[in-house]
């Protein structure tokens, strides 16, 4: 099976999952992306992406205990699988290798700031 690199939204979702730790609701992932990146990703985009990651074995979902205040409806929490972490590392390494030495071009503000006395 040919390996497929992670798409942009997939990368964002997986990084958010890593950041959130143990397990997270879809809504929490959205909130994390909005807070960090400032991008408003709709739930309509989040869930198909999570489903795709789950199909690829990178993420797993578990039904959480029913929430009392929501009329007992159970929701799903998502978690990074070890395979997912490996994939995330691989993708990140690709970016890192390719980006090595390009920091001034890719992130001028920080690069310049570092050189400033």
């Amino acid at each position: 099976m040919p390996r497929q690199s992670l798409g942009e939204l997939e990368l964002l979702v997986m990084l958010a999952l890593l950041r959130l730790g143990a397990a997270a609701y879809g809504a929490a992932i959205r909130a994390e992306i909005r807070a960090r990146v400032g991008r408003d990703v709709t739930p309509g985009a989040i869930y198909p992406t999570l489903a795709r990651l789950e199909d690829r074995g990178l993420v797993k979902s578990v039904a959480s205990d029913p929430l009392p205040e929501r009329g007992g409806r159970s929701r799903r929490v998502f978690e990074l699988r070890p395979q997912g972490l490996k994939e995330l590392r691989r993708t990140w390494r690709q970016y890192a290798v390719l980006a090595h030495g390009l920091e001034p071009a890719l992130d001028p503000e920080r690069a310049l700031g570092a050189k400033k006395p």
Partner: protein, 878 residues
């Protein structure tokens, strides 16, 4: 305040891709609840709506992305079979009309076939409520298959035969049951011996069966009720067992109730829709049967030993019968398995319809094959290209087979749906054909049959075109494609052969339709011997009293007649024990005083009132019965014309004396014959006695009331009920029917046969016409160049058109010849259903020939016109 977000959200939420809908919607609603406090409700609702729509858009986009990624990664693993199917589906979608034609043909054909399969299965393999039913057989006297036997003969055979394990005789009649409130009604009942239930291997649902010890004279009379009788008289109360019920005026103790599923072997065969409601012990009936050698009213069922075949048993029993009745010629018994005896009436019909179905399915397959071959011809170039590019023959065959697999699969699916509807329709109309008790269910076998049909269809329709396509020589095919010509002789003659087969099958079906249609016409023109249009018929129950108390019955009858005759529009009223075509037999041996001839089996009917006037049967000689022919007066009788011809050898009947059940009666008149057992049989010997001189109690306990109306008889039915209930309170009459209904019941099955076969024949002729016209169109398209050359060299347009028509007639003629022969062979199946028409009826053959030839001319009209309209210049330049 929230402006009803759930409803709005739910409505808009339908736009979200289904797998994610709930989760996405619930998150959006959470968002909405989190912020609606800060905004006005309208704006909040609008924002929610916008968010939902945006999410919906995203969900579809991302779901599609996911699918695309899936396909990318799975594409390589997808089996080549699935790929073939997908490819075939796309190929079929490119030729929608051909696909539609093939699908419609397949699904209609398979739908009809499945429907008939379920119906045939329901009729021929109906579950029977007896143990080991295949070893049960029925003996009947040879004179008429549904006539009973002498009890003495039955017992002789049972005692002497080595192939019989158990045997039981019983006697059926219409009993009068009286309940606690004194209300009586008529129920079909049977007098049985103690071995009856044990031989059938059935046990009652409640209480006990009738046992051998009940057979001894002087024992307490006992009765076993059917579930229906028990429900009707005792409302299903289990304490009914042990109580008593009056049968024909005598008390019987109820000892058991049969389960609802139990069917008496005879009611199944003879009484049709009148299930037997009570079985009584009746040693005196059997005693009388043993002594009265003239009484053939016993049904005889035997259980064969385990390893004995029905044929072996039949020949053994015939031999025994010849020994006990040395004077009779041939076998005095017919023997048939119970299953066969019980489906005798419909079996031939079912086989005929199955034959029609098989023919139709063959036509369907041939037609689809024809369509697919035609298509294969059109894409020879494409296939040649694929072969040239390295596709294996197997791959090409697989792909073409996949196309027919799709057609067969979809066709079977739709056909199954059609069959569901068809079976439902059959269930709805089954009542009048005496099949209402049959369960027409789809079961595993029907589904297996459907799958088998699909497989056969796939192979039949797919193999030929696939084989043809892959045999193409690549170079020739490519060259021919380049010239846009390619009259392959082999493929054309194959298609012509298919059309010949189709025409032959359609023609064979047409012959059957013609024969059955003519039979129906003949049946419709049969006169039943009585005036059925104006006679109303209903059942009347009378108090079951001995002959000494006859006046109780006659007083009641007189009151009924007086009331009924007073009704406006009534011309005559009378009663008879058994109305013609009601299925009752009631016969006895009658001898003529002073004659040396053998006693003759004769139907006996007791009549009262103006019966003959009511049914419109004329007295042709002598006189009818009068009021003087009553109890105590000299016994008299009337006979029909067949009696005069067969029993008296055509001599004058008046004044002759007949011995009827021990009574010497003077024949005082002769009446016209009436068809007693249906329209197809005539000449039954019948003798009528006056009701008021009938010493047999059971002949008087119930009657059929017949009323002749001046006009519009059915208008009288309600007032007839009133008139009878005023004269005889507590004796409700049965359903009031027009005498014509009895005739209609006789005609229902032949009418259905003719209609169904004609429908099959019509469909098959249409299919054959489609096939023929397709082949001709293809032939014209392939011969355009040749036709153009002929025209350029001076041939006239009409001669070119004649060429095509000639080809059509040539193909049709061969099919017609084969079809007429096939039709003659097939008519062997329906010969039992024919009436007044021979299998080689010239009108049917002529009509079929004309119809097929005219259809062929119509089918060739469009292709011939096209051939005649070819422009030689343009065609040759191309």
């Amino acid at each position: 305040m929230t402006p009803r977000p759930p409803l709005l959200a739910r409505a808009l939420g339908l736009a979200i891709a289904r797998p994610f809908r709930d989760e996405v919607l619930s998150d959006l609603l959470d968002d909405h609840h989190g912020c609606h406090g800060r905004r006005s409700s309208m704006i909040a609702a609008a924002a929610l709506a916008a968010a939902i729509l945006r999410s919906a858009w995203d969900s579809h986009r991302h779901a599609r992305l996911a699918r695309a990624a899936d396909h990318h990664s799975r594409g390589i693993r997808m089996t080549s079979f699935l790929r073939d199917l997908r490819f075939a589906a796309r190929a079929l979608a490119r030729v929608p009309w051909l696909t539609l034609a093939a699908l419609v043909t397949l699904s209609v054909g398979l739908g009809a076939a499945l429907t008939m399969y379920v119906v045939a299965d329901g009729i021929l393999n109906a579950p029977v409520p007896w143990a080991a039913p295949d070893r049960l057989a029925m003996l009947s006297s040879n004179a008429r298959a549904l006539w009973g036997v002498r009890l003495g003969d039955h017992e002789e055979v049972a005692a002497r035969s080595a192939s019989i394990e158990a045997a039981s005789a019983w006697q059926g009649w219409q009993a009068t049951l009286t309940d606690r409130d004194g209300i009586t009604s008529r129920v079909a009942a049977a007098s049985v011996g103690g071995e009856f239930f044990r031989m059938l291997g059935v046990t009652p649902a409640l209480g006990r069966a009738i046992l051998p010890e009940d057979d001894q004279l002087g024992r307490e009379p006992v009765v076993v009720l059917s579930d229906a009788t028990w429900t009707r008289y005792f409302a299903g109360d289990p304490s009914a067992v042990g109580r008593s019920i009056d049968i024909d005026g005598a008390p019987y103790r109820i000892v058991g109730v049969m389960p609802a599923a139990f069917i008496d072997p005879i009611n199944w065969a003879i009484f049709g829709n009148r299930p037997i409601g009570a079985w009584r012990s009746a040693p005196e009936v059997f005693d009388r049967g043993r002594r009265d050698k003239t009484w053939v009213g016993f049904w005889s069922v035997i259980r064969l030993k385990r390893d004995v075949s029905i044929d072996a048993a039949a020949s053994e029993i015939s031999a025994i019968a010849r020994r006990i009745q040395p004077d009779s010629t041939g076998a005095p018994f017919t023997i048939a398995t119970l299953r066969e005896a019980n489906t005798r009436g419909v079996r031939t019909t079912v086989y005929a319809l199955l034959a029609a179905v098989v023919a139709l399915v063959l036509i369907v397959c041939v037609n689809v094959a024809n369509l697919l071959i035609g298509r294969g011809l059109g894409r020879k170039g494409e296939i040649a290209l694929r072969l040239a590019l390295g596709a294996s023959r197997g791959a090409v065959i697989r792909q073409v087979l996949a196309e027919s697999a799709i057609l067969a699969g979809v066709g079977t699916g739709v056909g199954l749906l059609l069959a569901l509807g068809g079976v439902r329709a059959v269930r709805a109309i089954a009542g009048p054909y005496g099949l209402s008790g049959r369960a027409f269910e789809f079961d595993a076998s029907a589904v297996i049959a459907a799958v088998a049909l699909a497989l056969v269809t796939t192979l039949l329709c797919g193999l030929l075109p696939a084989w043809r396509s892959s045999k193409n020589d690549v170079q020739i095919a490519l060259r021919e494609t380049g010239r846009s010509q390619g009259p392959s002789r082999a493929s054309q003659s194959l298609r012509r052969l298919l059309v010949v087969v189709e025409t032959a099958l359609a023609c064979a079906l047409l012959v059957q339709a013609g024969l059955l249609g003519r039979s129906l016409v003949n049946l419709l023109s049969v006169r039943p011997g009585f005036d059925a249009d104006r006679a109303l018929v209903t059942s009347l129950s009378l108090p079951p009293v001995p002959f000494a108390r006859l006046s109780e019955q006659t007083a009641l009858l007189d009151a009924v007649f007086a009331n009924v005759r007073r009704m406006p529009g009534v011309e005559a009223a009378g009663t008879i024990t058994d109305f013609p075509m009601s299925g009752a037999i009631n016969s006895t041996s009658i001898s003529i005083v002073g004659a040396t001839a053998e006693p003759t089996q004769t139907l006996v009917r007791a009549i009262d009132g103006d019966y003959f006037d009511a049914v419109g049967v004329p007295v042709v000689r002598g006189r009818g019965f009068t009021e003087a022919d009553r109890q105590g007066a000299a016994p008299v009788a009337l006979v029909n014309e067949s009696f005069v011809a067969k029993v008296l050898g055509g001599q004058s009947a008046l004044g002759r004396q007949a011995v009827v059940r021990g009574v010497v009666r003077e024949i005082v008149g002769v009446v016209r014959d009436v068809r007693e057992f249906g329209l197809t049989t005539s000449g039954d010997v019948t003798l009528y006695t006056p009701y008021r001189q009938e010493a047999q109690d059971w002949m008087r306990s119930g009657s059929t009331l017949v009323v002749r109306a001046g006009d519009d008889p059915l208008r009288l039915s309600a007032s007839l009920r009133d008139a009878v209930s005023r004269a005889a309170p507590g004796r409700p009459i049965g359903a009031v029917r027009l005498a014509n209904d009895y005739l209609d019941r006789q005609l229902a099955v032949p009418r259905l046969q003719a209609i169904v076969i004609a429908a099959f024949a019509t469909v098959s002729v249409l299919l054959a016409a489609i096939g023929l016209s397709g082949v001709l169109a293809c032939a014209v398209a392939e011969r355009l160049r040749e036709i153009a050359i002929r025209l350029a060299l001076g041939a006239s347009r009409s001669s070119v058109a004649r060429l095509i028509v000639g080809q059509s007639l040539w193909v049709t003629g061969i099919g017609l010849a084969g079809g007429l022969v096939g039709g003659w062979l097939l008519s062997g199946v329906v010969s039992g259903l024919l009436f007044g028409v021979t299998r080689t009826d010239p009108a049917v053959i002529g009509g079929t020939t004309a119809l097929v030839l005219i259809t062929a001319l119509i089918a060739s009209w469009a292709p011939a016109r096209r051939a005649g309209a070819v422009d030689p210049m343009r065609t040759l330049k191309q």
